[in-house]
Symmetry: C2
Subunit: 332 residues, 2 copies
DNA sequence: ACGTGCTAATGAATCGATTCAATATCTGAT
DNA sequence: ATCAGATATTGAATCGATTCATTAGCACGT
């Protein structure tokens, strides 16, 4: 393995000079620099990051732990975070916790041992003790899609109450009055918030009513099951507007209700989802939805982390983004 | 920052002993070990991986670069790779190249500098020169979903010719004779292979014919466009079986043709996709498809890499998996 | 010729964990 | 009491890049 010393010998300079060529090129005379660079590519020298980090104490990597890489929300967030990090020439190392505390813990351990600059994490359940440990060890952390009630660390998240409000308000202004909310257990904070927003909107219209349907999960299949349950009531008993807690549910509901003879979306039933995943616009009837500013969240998360790294003692910041209504065929 | 020396001082032992507690616990007397472990958790000591790696030369991480984390094929492959790596207590660091050569190169650089044990990569286009460089630097590599024609490195991939064959053969045995293949450009090796397999199957039936339709991309929208093009011909001009080069295309095609009045899937038109993504089984009509053994591929890729790491000079191995036919409502 | 001021290059000390030859300590047998 | 042999512990040397105080080299003015 080629080391900086081999390069120095071959180029007839001191090791310090080679180091300067790499890190402070303008301190080295042009001629020398060229000579060294030539030797570097000749020998195929690759800087040993372990040694660099050990001595300099600085790391160029950021750890990112997401709940599920196959969820488009997280994958596009991760992509944006990578882009932003690259601009401050850092690299994002991605870990997928799969909603599993054990995996999450393993990644946190590895990231700590590797002395990453900081960690972005969308935590599984309660991570109070882990948070405390990371803080004790001085590892900067930023929460993603979650806030720390105690405001110890910075976070980026979305105002889901506002999102739920705008989804339902949208259908109400279009004349719908019998609204249904379909979501999984309100144990999930995000689902609870979206429902709260829905309730606020309905409360503004005395003649409107809101029905809550609990689905088994946040998947297409669970959505279809919920839709079939509604369909059994016959056309008379149906709501005229449905708000689903995410797009997958909405797509499932759409599949189920479209099988009802003669029922049309949006004429007879308006339908709106949440997240704006790719499938939303390519559904049989293009799906209206509430979009979260995913890219912006990814970029901002990195920026908050860089901030936290720079001035360690500074106060934390909670950035909450407003979601955006996307109207398509399903609510026209 | 707490170092091994601080631990040694506090526990009144030599640094070597602390190191042994961490790496060769059985060489240390029980009493001493306990004392040291207590001090470690008291002080919150976390091993500095940079120093460990620098001296010991060993790394516990594997780099994985995929084309697109949001593609379910890659995300589930990554998950399986992580599981397998964890069993040999290594960790997978995931990089997303987004089909971009620049990103791919950046991740390769970072992984080399971090001296990962090895790299798993699903390469963007031609990576001959990069491969050569990695080999020159002694970094073990395993290709994923791609083979090296020169067999320099090991690889895991799928027999897409067989996959195309079984998809079309399946429809032929169900009595279909006017088959259409819908895929993006055959510049993509995988698409070309699936078409070859389709042609082989059709060749076995003298009265069968195969039509090739080129879609703009491998997405739902492109599939829908292709489906609408077919639909314009009217019911008489339609094929009776369609094989799409992936599930997204098939879902788009399904959306388009279901809008044709009175046309039924599978009675009038059989449809089969490729990949078995989650959406396949939850489509309006559950979609038959060809499944690739994703988890097995991920695990195997890690195993080939570990092999390559152990005996550096050994010959490479090309593992090619057979895909599996999954029949659902769309071809019954 | 000499001093001043500047740029360029040097190389030893350093980061923290691991390794291993050397040493200390203990056990049990004689 | 002594010694062989096993077991436990020690601590200096090491990995490779960075840092920085020091030295070398050079140009210019007097």
């Amino acid at each position: 393995m080629v080391s900086i010393k081999d390069v120095a010998d071959q180029a007839q300079v001191a090791v310090g000079t080679v180091s300067n060529v790499l890190n402070n090129p303008d301190r080295v005379a042009e001629k020398t620099r060229e000579r060294v660079l030539n030797v570097i590519s000749e020998l195929g020298f690759v800087r040993n990051d372990a040694a660099r980090q050990l001595r300099a104490g600085l790391s160029r990597t950021i750890g990112l732990i997401v709940l599920d890489v196959s969820n488009p929300f997280f994958s596009s967030l991760a992509r944006a975070a990578e882009d932003r990090a690259a601009e401050s020439d850092s690299t994002v190392l991605l870990g997928d916790s799969c909603h599993d505390v054990g995996r999450e813990g393993r990644y946190l351990d590895v990231f700590e041992q590797q002395r990453v600059k900081g960690v972005l994490i969308s935590p599984v359940g309660n991570i109070d003790s882990r948070l405390e440990q990371l803080r004790a060890h001085g590892v900067p952390v930023v929460l993603v899609d979650r806030v720390d009630p105690q405001r110890r660390v910075s976070s980026v998240s979305v105002d889901d109450v506002a999102g739920g409000y705008m989804a339902v308000k949208h259908m109400l202004t279009r004349g719908r009055r019998r609204i249904a909310f379909i979501g999984a257990s309100t144990d999930i904070q995000q689902v609870a918030d979206r429902l709260t927003g829905a309730q606020q909107a309905v409360a503004e219209y005395p003649d409107a009513e809101l029905e809550v349907v609990e689905a088994a999960a946040m998947t297409v299949l669970a959505g279809r099951a919920a839709g079939e349950l509604l369909a059994e009531r016959g056309r008379g008993g149906l709501p005229d507007g449905i708000f689903c807690a995410n797009d997958l549910l909405a797509i499932g509901v759409m599949q189920a209700v479209l099988l009802i003879r003669g029922l049309r979306i949006p004429e007879d039933l308006a339908l709106i989802g949440y997240d704006d995943i790719d499938f939303a616009q390519s559904a049989v009837v293009p799906l209206s939805t509430v979009r979260r500013p995913t890219e912006l969240m990814g970029r901002t998360a990195v920026e908050l982390l860089l901030e936290a790294i720079d001035r360690t003692a500074a106060e934390s910041r909670q950035v909450i983004f407003q979601p955006e209504l996307v109207t398509r065929g399903s609510t026209l």
